[in-house]
Structures are given as structure tokens and as C-alpha cells.
């Protein structure tokens, strides 16, 4: 068995890849070394077998279609214009809805404390009847003035120091009584604000029409281009 350097040289010699001097050197060795000569002949025969292998023809055509390579039909510039207008109209439409719903959200957030305050008052009043001593001590302080409030203006003069404190409390209780209708009026305000939308419905309809119209035209252009392309 020859070393690999010899094998490599013989392989290159077969393909005519050696220089003239290298070829001459190898040829002189081939005549003097029969083993080397037989390696050359065997290798030539093996290469000959490979070269004689029947060339198989392609069983079908491998030609490509536009779909196979993902080619898209050339679209006119108007297509991108209509596509852009569809996108803009859609975004604006969404923004109008968002803008119109913002005041409602704002009112909903502001109304909540008022309602909770109102219910808290109701809880405080109701609680005095059922709960223990601390609540009971506070309850007369609020309820007593309201009971004595009606005769208060007439009995103002004899009512000395004890009345003066009750009179001092009376306006706060009165104010609370006056404020009580507020929760009833708040939903009315809210519904009024809801009715007065920031962006009128007409604009929303216009935007919707523009969006749908542009999308339809863009789709038609695309379909037409595809039909021409195929």
C-alpha cells in the first residue's frame, strides 16, 4: 500500500492537475514501481465507472411558478394610496370612539366618591340604631338639633349656652340635608354629558364610509392586478 501522498498525486495526475515537472517525476516512478502503476490503473477504472454511470434525466420539469417563489403582482401606486387612507380612516375612527368614551369614564370616576359618601351617611345613620354605645352617644348630637331645629328661631333668646352649641351644629346638619339631593342630580349630569359626544356621530359615519370605501377599492385593485398577473 502506497502512502497517501502518492495516492493524492496519482488522483491529481489522472485529472491533469499536476505541473509538468510533477507529472514527469510521477511518470518515471510509475515505470519503475509496478505497485504504483496498478494503483493508477485501478483508480482510473473506478473513475471510469463513475463517469459511465447512466445520466438520469429529470423525471419532470422543475420550472418555477410565481406562487412557488412568492412573487407578488406589481400593484399600481393608487393601491398604496387607498390602503393608506383605509389605515388612517380606521385609526381615526377608533380614536373618535376613544375620545367620546373618555368623558364618561371621567364622570364615572368622579361620581363614585359622591355616591359612596351618600351611602356612608346612610350607613352612619342606620348604624346608630343597631350598633353599641359609641354610636349611640354620637346619634343624639346629630339627631337632636334636627328635632329642635324648627323651634330654634323662636326660642333663640332664652336658649343660653347649651343652645348656642346646638345652633352652631344646626347649619352643618342643614347643609347635609340640602346636599342630600345631589346624588340624585349627578346621574342627570352624567347622562347629559353622555348625550353631548365630543366627536359627532356624523364624523364617525364619514370616517367609516371612507375606510370601507378605500378598503373596497384597494381590494378591487389587488384582485385586478392578480388576475392580470396569472
Amino acid at each position: 500500500m502506497k502512502n497517501f501522498r502518492d495516492i493524492e498525486q496519482i488522483s491529481s495526475y489522472l485529472d491533469g492537475q499536476l505541473s509538468l515537472s510533477e507529472s514527469a517525476q510521477l511518470e518515471s516512478r510509475l515505470t519503475s514501481d509496478p505497485e504504483l502503476g496498478s494503483v493508477l490503473k485501478e483508480m482510473r477504472a473506478a473513475r471510469g465507472l463513475l463517469r459511465k454511470m447512466p445520466a438520469r434525466r429529470a423525471p419532470r420539469n422543475f420550472t418555477l411558478t410565481r406562487k412557488m417563489v412568492g412573487l407578488k403582482p406589481p400593484l399600481p401606486q393608487s393601491y398604496s394610496f387607498f390602503r393608506l387612507s383605509t389605515a388612517i380612516a380606521s385609526v381615526l375612527l377608533v380614536l373618535t370612539f376613544a375620545a367620546n368614551s373618555l368623558p364618561r369614564i371621567g364622570m364615572g370616576g368622579a361620581a363614585a366618591p359622591v355616591q359612596s359618601f351618600a351611602t356612608c351617611n346612610a350607613c352612619g345613620g342606620g348604624g346608630s340604631d343597631t350598633t353599641g354605645a359609641p354610636a349611640a352617644t354620637e346619634a343624639p348630637a346629630i339627631q337632636a338639633p334636627s328635632m329642635e331645629l324648627v323651634p330654634a328661631p323662636t326660642q333663640a333668646e332664652p336658649g343660653a349656652s347649651a343652645d348656642s352649641t346646638r345652633i352652631g351644629e344646626a347649619p352643618t346638619a342643614e347643609a347635609q340635608l340640602q346636599k342630600e339631593p345631589e346624588p340624585e342630580s349627578a346621574p342627570q349630569d352624567q347622562s347629559r354629558v353622555g348625550a353631548e359626544a365630543l366627536i359627532p356621530l356624523t364624523w364617525q359615519i364619514i370616517l367609516l364610509v371612507i375606510g370601507l370605501g378605500s378598503a373596497g377599492i384597494a381590494f378591487a385593485i389587488h384582485q385586478n392586478a392578480r388576475k392580470k398577473w396569472s
Binding site: S11, S38, K41, E42, M43, R47, R51, M53, R60, L64
Partner: protein
């Protein structure tokens, strides 16, 4: 066929020009894939993948031998196919003999122009050579297929296989050496020229 004009047109997106190139090279591409993969169906898939990939990456072709560039693409497609086969090995549905064994040389590929005896001999010789090719490591097989079966010169093979010229020489020598040893096992099928050498050596 003005190859460079067709390539230029295809680079500008003209699919018809590229299809003309495909028709010119499809036999060579398929045959290369068949010899590397050793089976028709995956060779067909690899050839199709190679052409699709070639069209998509045509902008990277910077001149030189288009055949070598195409062969690089099909070689890559074959490597991908071999990797896929390794991940998901399949059992080929080959025809069986009466005893239930698989037939070594399927007759459905028969060429009607040859006599049955000739066909049988050619089939078996081709099968033997393909068997020896399949026994080679993939890198060696690729080089020997490109150089000896496709008849490409060393620089083209180096360009297609993306390895230096020296590596091509070395791989080719090793591949031919292994083939020579493998083919000795099919002595009775080999042509007389090959057998005579064997007899003389013994």
C-alpha cells in the same frame, strides 16, 4: 442560449428567464442530487428546493461559473435533506421478491430500449456503484459526484463545495481510494477492464 443575459434578466425578477436556465440545467441538478442522496424521491425534492432557493438568492451570484453556483445550491439542499432523513428515518416501500425480501434492483426503472439481460447487468452495476457512493462520507461523496460524475474541474468543485482547492484534491483522492476498495466487492459485476487489473495484481 445567452446564459449571462438570462441570469441578468432573472436577477431583475424575470421568472421566465430563470425557467429557461432551469430547463437547461435540470438534468444535471437532478442527477447530482440523485447520486448524493441515492434515491429518486428525495432527489426530486432537493432539486426543486435548490431551484427555488437559487431564484431567491440569485442576487448573490457575482459572476463566474453559473453551473458551479447552482451545484453549490443543490449540494446544500442535499445536505438539508440528509439532515432531515437523519432526524426522521423512513422505511422505503420497495418491491419485494416472492420470498418477501426487498429487491436489490427495482425493475420499475427499466429502460425499454435495453434487453432484459443488459438492463439487469446495467442496473446491478449502477446499483453497486451507487452502493459504494453511499458508503462514502457525505463530503467525499459530494466531491466525487461533482468531479467524476458531473465532470467539473477542481476550481469549480472548490467553488461549489466551498472548500479550498487542496481539500478538494485530498478528498477526491481519499474518495477514489475508498471506491476502489468498495468496488472490489462487486468484482463479478465490473467490466472486463476493471477485472483484468484485479487478476493481474493477484
Amino acid at each position: 442560449m445567452d446564459e449571462s443575459a438570462l441570469i441578468h434578466a432573472a436577477q431583475n425578477g424575470d421568472l421566465d428567464s430563470f425557467n429557461t436556465l432551469i430547463l437547461h440545467y435540470q438534468d444535471a441538478v437532478f442527477h447530482t442530487a440523485l447520486r448524493i442522496l441515492g434515491d429518486e424521491d428525495p432527489a426530486e425534492d432537493a432539486a426543486q428546493e435548490a431551484f427555488i432557493s437559487a431564484f431567491r438568492s440569485l442576487s448573490t451570484f457575482r459572476g463566474g461559473s453559473f453551473k458551479a453556483w447552482l451545484m453549490r445550491t443543490v449540494t446544500n439542499a442535499c445536505y438539508d435533506e440528509l439532515r432531515r432523513q437523519k432526524r426522521r428515518p423512513t422505511t422505503p416501500l420497495e418491491p419485494e421478491t416472492q420470498d418477501g425480501d426487498e429487491m436489490d434492483s427495482p425493475r420499475w426503472l427499466a429502460d425499454p430500449n435495453m434487453t432484459p439481460a443488459e438492463r439487469s447487468e446495467a442496473d446491478e452495476l449502477e446499483h453497486a456503484v451507487q452502493h459504494c457512493l453511499d458508503a462514502l462520507p457525505t463530503d467525499f461523496r459530494t466531491v466525487v459526484v461533482l468531479a467524476d460524475i458531473q465532470g467539473m474541474d477542481y476550481s469549480e468543485v472548490a467553488s461549489a463545495a466551498r472548500v479550498p482547492l487542496g481539500t478538494i484534491k485530498s478528498r477526491l483522492a481519499r474518495a477514489r481510494l475508498r471506491l476502489r476498495e468498495c468496488l472490489r466487492g462487486f468484482e463479478e459485476l465490473l467490466p472486463s477492464s476493471f477485472r483484468l487489473e484485479e487478476e493481474r495484481n493477484s
